[in-house]
Subunit: 155 residues, 2 copies
């Protein structure tokens, strides 16, 4: 669908979008809040999700758990309005900068999926490395929003 | 090495680091500039790279092209001093916030790997979708810095 990747110079410094999809047809996507610039989530797109996102200016991903195009916000209502899309040097990763208003991005209910931080420095016991909550309050109650939908988190 | 992932509640809302490594033993990592908050790069870590990064407070990745631990800056001198590490809801992605001073992160020579943006809206010809350079000047000359090292970009 997109331009064929023909040589490295063109991919890195050329003027055309020529994204690299992996063996499953997916490209990783990092989504940030265009106001706070926090990372909200990390997901994946196939070529169709990328095309839809560019054209509709609303984020579409590939749901690896449901194996289908995932229009972000279809269940929660928290649509992501795309302000900018960037592509990286070797065109194997997409950066979306989005507006989610006062909404949330994380299925657990927090604004960002990255609500916990890992302490830096010498680790005493790797199996018991405590992490700290940086977001204290959920934006929504996932039980009310998702009702009986399966949890996308896998062990 | 890290805590075993025993149940979803613990992974999502528990107090211990229990990262999920994929079938290749890797976890995706997004690295941002702690000052500008731009995304600098997207890479991968194995468990050992994650442990080293936490303990040394300098970014270590897994190089998929060279198949070894990659101490960022070992060739270029552009070390990434880690200011914060976050983990996401299902603990399958790491966010590093780093200090690179006036250095660069991208092997092509730009400060961020994400130096091109994709125009939004209706696409006339998907195979010829022009992208725009947002960074105009390189921080360093890759030919001088990397000399004869192989280019990590793959077609």
């Amino acid at each position: 669908m997109f331009k064929k990747r023909e040589n490295i110079k063109e991919v890195e410094e050329g003027e055309y979008l020529a994204p690299k999809f992996d063996e499953n047809g997916l490209i990783p996507v990092v989504t940030t809040d265009f106001r706070s610039r926090d990372i909200l989530m990390h997901g994946y797109m196939n070529a169709e999700a990328l095309r839809k996102t560019i054209e509709t200016k609303e984020a579409h991903y590939w749901s690896r758990s449901r194996k289908k195009i995932w229009y972000k916000g279809e269940a929660s209502g928290f649509v992501q309005v795309v302000k900018e899309i960037r592509i990286d040097d070797d065109q194997d990763c997409v950066w979306l900068s989005v507006d989610i208003g006062k909404g949330a991005s994380c299925h657990v209910g927090y604004r960002s999926c990255f609500y916990r931080s890992v302490p830096l420095g010498k680790i005493e016991n790797t199996e018991k490395l405590k992490i700290n909550f940086k977001e204290k309050e959920k934006i929504f109650d996932p039980k009310k929003v998702y009702k009986n939908k399966p949890n996308p988190t896998k062990l």
